[in-house]
């Protein structure tokens, strides 16, 4: 009988993404043993950190072949470990790595899967997952049966709780070989920023067409830095070239789930709301009292962002 919950660790160069801790915390609820699965190079040292957030065991596959994420080797390794250890549930973050790995693995195993989930109910042999579809305009409950049950979970929706488990290291036999690798990763170009990443940030300050140009970007940057926030953008400010596409929030950009989202000079088009309306607190600054963004804002200021934000900054600095 398959048993236990696996959480696939999303890490790069030993830095674990926060969603991993969210999933370890969530997995505590299923009442089964929780194993953090970490595939990488020189990753055994991550075990105590994973134990802290709820890993009873840490299954480690360590090899040069896993130094950078590549789908083929990771899928081969996962498939071999699943065969050996027979887990009941496997959770991934809905990150670029998680969705890539989970989809290919699910097909190899011939199982169904729910992706980008915002809630999960697990019972023996069955998972019922809530997903936001049509860009959040509807909610679907999706049922997956059998073993293992695979799902990717949206970052930021599950709470991180420390539970100080053993994090006992179990070394897995390395099963992937050079023949499994079909992607040649030539280069990684990190986003150089002193700010948190958009999809992980607690606070996001976003600007739209109302920024009017690079000068406006400076205005929101000052507020963002005071709040330790990430910068976001509407499509209008991306299309205008003031901010890169990696900043875009919305249907064709990123979905964010911060504690606080501040929208400055953003009208609140349905495609923008799709990416941010599940934020816990939303503040909006807009000159147009009829702007649709106010219909989702907890705190709306009708006014010119160039005048309002400097006052906010000055007040916060006091």
């Amino acid at each position: 009988m398959a048993k236990g919950t696996w959480v696939v660790v999303d890490q790069r160069d030993g830095k674990i993404r926060k969603v991993t801790f969210e999933l370890l915390s969530e997995a505590q609820k299923y009442g089964d043993e929780v194993t953090a699965v970490v595939i990488g190079k020189g990753v055994e040292g991550l075990a105590p950190e994973l134990g802290k957030y709820g890993a009873d065991k840490v299954l480690v596959a360590d090899d040069d072949i896993f130094a950078v994420y590549n789908t083929g080797a990771f899928v081969a390794q996962m498939a071999a470990m699943i065969k050996e250890y027979d887990p009941a549930v496997i959770l991934f973050g809905h990150t670029t790595m998680g969705r890539d790995l989970a989809a290919r693995l699910a097909q190899k195993l011939g199982v169904g899967m729910a992706t980008d989930c915002i809630a999960a109910e697990i019972s023996p042999g069955k998972g019922v997952f809530t997903r936001a579809i049509y860009a959040g305009k509807a909610l679907a409950k999706v049922q997956v049966e059998g073993t293992p049950i695979l799902a990717t979970i949206r970052a930021g929706v599950m709470e991180v709780v420390e539970s100080n488990k053993a994090g006992e290291v179990v070394k897995a036999a390395v099963a992937a070989t050079a023949g499994d690798v079909y992607q040649n990763v030539k280069e990684f170009i990190p986003t150089i920023s002193t700010r948190p990443e958009l999809t992980e940030a607690e606070v996001v300050v976003s600007g739209g067409r109302g920024l009017k140009g690079p000068e406006g970007v400076k205005v929101i940057e000052e507020l963002a830095d005071l709040l330790g926030a990430a910068i976001g953008a509407s499509r209008a400010s991306v299309d205008s070239g003031w901010l890169g596409h990696e900043y875009q929030v919305g249907q064709t950009g990123k979905v964010v789930n911060p504690n606080l989202y501040i929208a400055a000079g953003i009208s609140g088009a349905i495609q923008h709301l799709a990416g941010m309306s599940s934020s816990k607190y939303i503040a909006a600054i807009n000159t147009d009292p009829e702007a649709p963004i106010f219909s989702v804002a907890d705190f709306g200021v009708v006014g010119d962002l160039f005048k309002v934000i400097p006052v906010v900054v000055a007040e916060l600095k006091k």
Partner: protein, 251 residues
């Protein structure tokens, strides 16, 4: 080069979602090509324009899906394959099997897809298709360069960008920043009417993930909205941030 593009027909992004008998109602909804797939079609046409070849559009969907195929043909694709699927709830597994069946027959050098469908938001189908066909894949690509039997893909990953090379044939999924899709010209629309669309039945395959309940999210309540002098409104916003949201201020 022969390029196959997987195109899904989705609701207009402006569409209001209404439930009827527990299902999402398509009544009066304007249907479009999934925005990412439009980018995939554009990329395929640009490759064809540069180095010649053929662009085949493959779409699994109900009767109205013909419109999406015609639009891709009007943009410049050469022919279409319409896999008839009437159940809108077929899961990603089943759709991947259906598409792979047709794609295998087409034997393309390159398969382009969107990286996600705007309706189901799954990001599963293309990667599953690649696994079924035993092909390499590259996801969320923002720049694509083709050269002797390989593709060099710049793609979005968490924390930055990655440059990755895969051998062709391969499945590549497109991000919107890859290109700006063209509008079909009048001439293109006229020509599209004469371009062939093959209708094929989907292979019989059961979905594994089942939608058991649909609901509409609770409408978010609008909160406070204030007007006035910036000195005052800005101050109130700062107070709300400090007292209600309890933000931490970094000096």
């Amino acid at each position: 080069m022969k390029i196959a593009v997987c195109v899904k027909q989705t609701f207009d992004t402006e569409a209001k979602i209404v439930l009827k008998d527990g299902k999402i109602s398509g009544d009066g909804i304007n249907l479009i090509i999934n925005p990412y797939d439009e980018v995939a079609v554009e990329e395929a046409i640009r490759i064809k324009e540069k180095q010649g070849g053929e662009v085949v559009v493959v779409c699994a969907g109900g009767d109205r899906a013909t419109e999406a195929i015609r639009q891709a043909l009007a943009m410049g694709a050469d022919r279409g394959v319409h896999i008839k699927v009437n159940d809108p709830d077929v899961d990603e597994y089943a759709r991947a099997v259906m598409l792979a069946e047709v794609l295998k027959e087409q034997g393309a050098d390159l398969i382009l897809c969107g990286h996600v469908a705007a309706d189901d938001g799954s990001s599963q189908v293309p990667t599953r298709v690649a696994e079924i066909l035993g092909l390499p894949h590259a996801n969320v690509v923002t720049k694509l360069e083709l050269g002797d039997g390989k593709a060099v893909c710049t793609r979005e990953v968490d924390g930055g960008m990655e440059v990755m090379e895969v051998a062709l044939p391969a499945v590549i999924t497109c991000q919107v920043s890859l290109n700006e899709p063209r509008y079909p010209s009048m001439k293109g629309i006229m020509q599209a009417k004469k371009k062939p669309i093959a209708n094929v039945d989907a292979v019989a395959v059961e979905s594994k993930a089942k939608i058991i309940e649909l609901a509409l999210p609770a409408a978010k309540q609008a909160g406070k909205k204030i007007e006035g002098e910036p000195e005052d409104t800005g101050k109130q916003l700062a107070e709300w941030l400090l007292n209600e949201v309890k933000v931490e201020v970094k000096q």
